[in-house]
């Protein structure tokens, strides 16, 4: 691929999962060793110099990665920002002056002495941004920086990015899926195809006009496309709620209530979206509904039984929970073992068919390690493991995080099929597009309290 970006401009990079966007980020940052054979044809220069020559030592390139927690290095926010300056040999007086400046630039003044792991995801990501900006880099590279953030955190982050762009001193390369927010910031857009080759490079409007169709066909998100309307839920004759939560309360030992006074009823085949900021208790509510947590007060009933007291084997056939990160659910060595873990012999054939329908046919995948699958395959595997028992209630935690278009549409298809078969689906999500495409009911959770809400 060939492109040129003038100093001070902003480049937006879009592409489906696996197209090599992250590799581009590492190359720009000088983090790919020069002794990898066959790596480059052609050249990559920043301000006329090959990034590999300098490595990250000079501080000319700052990087912000996707996972906020993996960029936290020190025990105090200000120390974390100073970390990059210390590494580059800045004099102490210079650091003492620069650190408050960098924190102010990202809106974190006043949080200098806080332990970064106690900050919200959005704050942590802004702290990472401060750390990357502290040495005044000429180029700032961001690899899906808002992928793991809630809407508030995303908004705050893009605000700071916009301000940075406005100042015009830093060249920005932004890799993003959230095109609605990123598109307005872009001076140039680079679209990469699934094979790693470029589809197009140019001004944003031009890209939309001339290449929009092809880009979408590759499975890349584009801004402002029409959303599919959620199909109406068939009214069932006996709409007895399957899931009932009454006066539910939960707190961690020694802590304030995470949830209180929650009343909720969900009927079979309902499509519920749980929405609310991080820390509002959404995830806790999801886990309470499937009996992974025991309420401190109140009760939860699934079909009349208390899920927290059910033995695991029965629970798994009544309810299923899909965690946000597939890798945090893997418990076995091979895909086949993972799938059949806890399954009864009579359920195995059905599970095999399910895998095939998800594109993970056992004859090809059985002996592979779950950790070595691609992100999309891992998601589908974790989904299959839960769906294999045909639970009547399915709870998902942020199912669309970081998904490209293809994965998203596959997910919608599976969920719709399950709903048609009578499964109640509850998704804790920030994704508004998903809510409008899928949900027929929105339950808002704010500071531990719930407003049931009506139609989506």
């Amino acid at each position: 691929m060939s492109f040129e970006v003038p100093a001070g401009a902003t480049l937006l990079v879009v592409g489906p999962s696996g197209s090599g966007k992250s590799t581009l980020v590492l190359a720009l940052a000088g983090l790919l060793a020069r002794d990898v054979p066959g790596d480059w044809t052609g050249e990559l220069t920043i301000a006329g110099r090959d990034p590999r020559e300098r490595s990250a030592a000079s501080g000319e390139v700052g990087v912000v990665f996707q996972d906020p927690e993996s960029q936290l290095v020190m025990d105090r926010a200000e120390d974390d920002v100073a970390f990059g300056l210390e590494n580059r040999g800045w004099p102490r007086d210079g650091m003492r002056a620069r650190v408050p400046e960098a924190l102010a630039a990202v809106g974190l003044t006043g949080l200098e002495r806080r332990r970064p792991t106690t900050l919200s995801g959005g704050q942590q990501q802004r702290l990472a941004l401060a750390g990357a900006l502290a040495p005044r880099p000429a180029v700032l590279v961001l690899d899906e920086p808002t992928a793991n953030l809630d809407p508030d955190g995303t908004a705050a982050f893009f605000e700071r990015l916009a301000a940075l762009r406005g100042a015009g001193e830093t060249t920005i390369v932004l890799v993003e899926h959230r095109v609605d927010r990123a598109w307005p910031l872009a001076d140039h857009v680079l679209a990469i195809g699934a094979d790693g080759g470029p589809i197009a490079f140019g001004a944003p409007d031009e890209i939309l006009r001339r290449h929009g169709g092809r880009i979408e066909a590759e499975g890349i998100w584009l801004p402002g496309r029409a959303r599919g309307a959620a199909p109406a839920r068939p009214i069932s004759a006996s709409a007895a709620p399957f899931v009932v939560a009454r006066d539910l309360e939960f707190c961690y030992p020694g802590g304030a209530p995470v949830l209180s006074g929650v009343d909720l009823a969900i009927e079979p085949g309902e499509r519920v979206a749980l929405m609310g900021p991080n820390g509002s208790g959404k995830t806790t509510l999801g886990r309470l509904l499937v009996g992974l947590l025991r309420p401190t007060a109140g009760q939860v009933r699934l079909g009349g039984d208390d899920p927290a007291r059910m033995p695991a084997a029965d629970l798994a056939r009544r309810a299923g929970y899909v965690f946000q990160d597939p890798e945090r659910q893997f418990l076995a060595r091979t895909v086949e073992d993972e799938l059949t873990l806890g399954l009864r012999p009579d359920e195995r054939d059905g599970a095999g068919e399910l895998m095939t329908s998800l594109g993970l046919a056992l004859d090809r995948f059985a002996a592979r390690s779950p950790y070595l699958l691609s992100g999309g395959e891992q998601r589908r595997l974790s989904l299959a493991c839960i769906l294999a028992r045909r639970p009547s209630l399915l709870v998902l935690d942020e199912p669309t995080f970081g998904q490209d278009r293809r994965g998203y549409e596959a997910l919608l298809a599976i969920l719709r099929e399950r709903v048609a078969a009578g499964t109640a689906v509850v998704a804790a999500t920030h994704d508004e597009r998903f809510v409008s495409d899928f949900a027929d009911r929105v339950v808002e959770v704010r500071e531990g309290r719930v407003t049931p809400g009506g139609a989506a």
């Binding site: 940052a29 983090l31 990250a56 030592a57 501080g59 990087v63 990665f65 996972d67 927690e69 993996s70 960029q71 936290l72 290095v73 020190m74 025990d75 105090r76 120390d79 100073a82 970390f83 990059g84 300056l85 210390e86 590494n87 580059r88 040999g89 800045w90 102490r92 650091m95 003492r96 650190v99 970064p116 792991t117 990472a128 990357a132 040495p135 961690y252 030992p253 020694g254 886990r287 499937v290 009996g291 992974l292 695991a312 084997a313 029965d314 629970l315 798994a316 056939r317 929970y321 965690f323 890798e327 945090r328 659910q329 893997f330 418990l331 076995a332 873990l341 806890g342 493991c385 839960i386």
Partner: protein, 252 residues
């Protein structure tokens, strides 16, 4: 719950808080070595009393915090004392004065005295440990190790970066156990959990290392944002340590 402790500003700004953590650690180890050489009951209790008093007055550690920190101590002291008491060689000597009989075990007077001394040792170790933990800031400790102790910088700060992942790993473990339950598996503990945890941990470690490299870690000599220097608090700590030692010698 696995949680980091938070030290109040008063504790961090106190004389003990400002003294070099390396020095404090050295004093603690020094006292321990001295205590391990004696088997009398007086010295450990003296050390315990001194250190708690110093922690409260000089370290500004609230009394309640000290009390809570001492909580696990009682059962531990009892267990250690009892174990040493029951298996003391004096118990097999027919001439020794018998104090009690517990099942097949004889408890003789010298054994009881020895047991009490060892229980006192537990008290001392815990007391020193509490005051140390409650007056030492981790970053300060790492800085002191690097600047005063010549520990290689990359290892020290690499460790500090890894420590940031403590809450995340604790959560990962909980999540894996919940995953077992929702998949219908009976127990929530299993050796395979350790594999899962380590896989997640090493993946996380890779990302952290990458982020550190991206911030220039290890690319050349580093400067210091926080300076650790020897000062009056350290002198006072040394004086205090010597005073305690003198007291102990005077007692024995």
């Amino acid at each position: 719950m696995i949680q980091r402790i938070d030290l109040a500003a008063a504790q961090l700004d106190s004389i003990l808080g400002r003294a070099s953590p390396l020095l404090k650690l050295g004093v603690a180890i020094g006292w321990f070595v001295g205590l391990f050489l004696t088997t009398e009951i007086g010295p450990p209790l003296f050390v315990a009393g001194c250190v708690l008093l110093l922690g409260w007055l000089v370290g500004r550690v609230p009394a309640m915090t000290l009390a809570r920190g001492l909580a696990p101590l009682w059962l531990a002291a009892l267990t250690i004392g009892l174990f040493n008491g029951l298996f003391h060689p004096a118990n097999t000597e027919p001439l020794a004065v018998e104090v009690a009989r517990i099942g097949p075990f004889r408890l003789t007077e010298p054994a009881l005295v020895a047991a009490a001394a060892l229980a006192a040792r537990v008290v001392a170790i815990v007391a020193v440990g509490v005051v140390f933990a409650q007056t030492t800031d981790p970053t300060h400790l790492v800085d002191a190790l690097v600047q005063q102790g010549r520990v290689p910088e990359r290892f020290a700060y690499g460790a500090l970066a890894a420590y940031q992942a403590i809450p995340r790993f604790a959560e990962d473990l909980t999540t894996l156990r919940q995953a077992r339950r929702i998949r219908g598996l009976p127990g929530s503990w299993h050796p395979r959990l350790l594999v899962g945890l380590l896989v997640l941990a090493i993946r996380h470690g890779d990302r952290v290392a990458l982020a550190m490299d991206a911030r220039g870690f290890g690319s050349g000599p580093r400067t210091r944002y926080r300076r650790v220097r020897w000062g009056w608090p350290d002198v006072l700590v040394v004086v205090g340590a010597v005073a305690v030692l003198v007291g102990v010698l005077g007692l024995s």
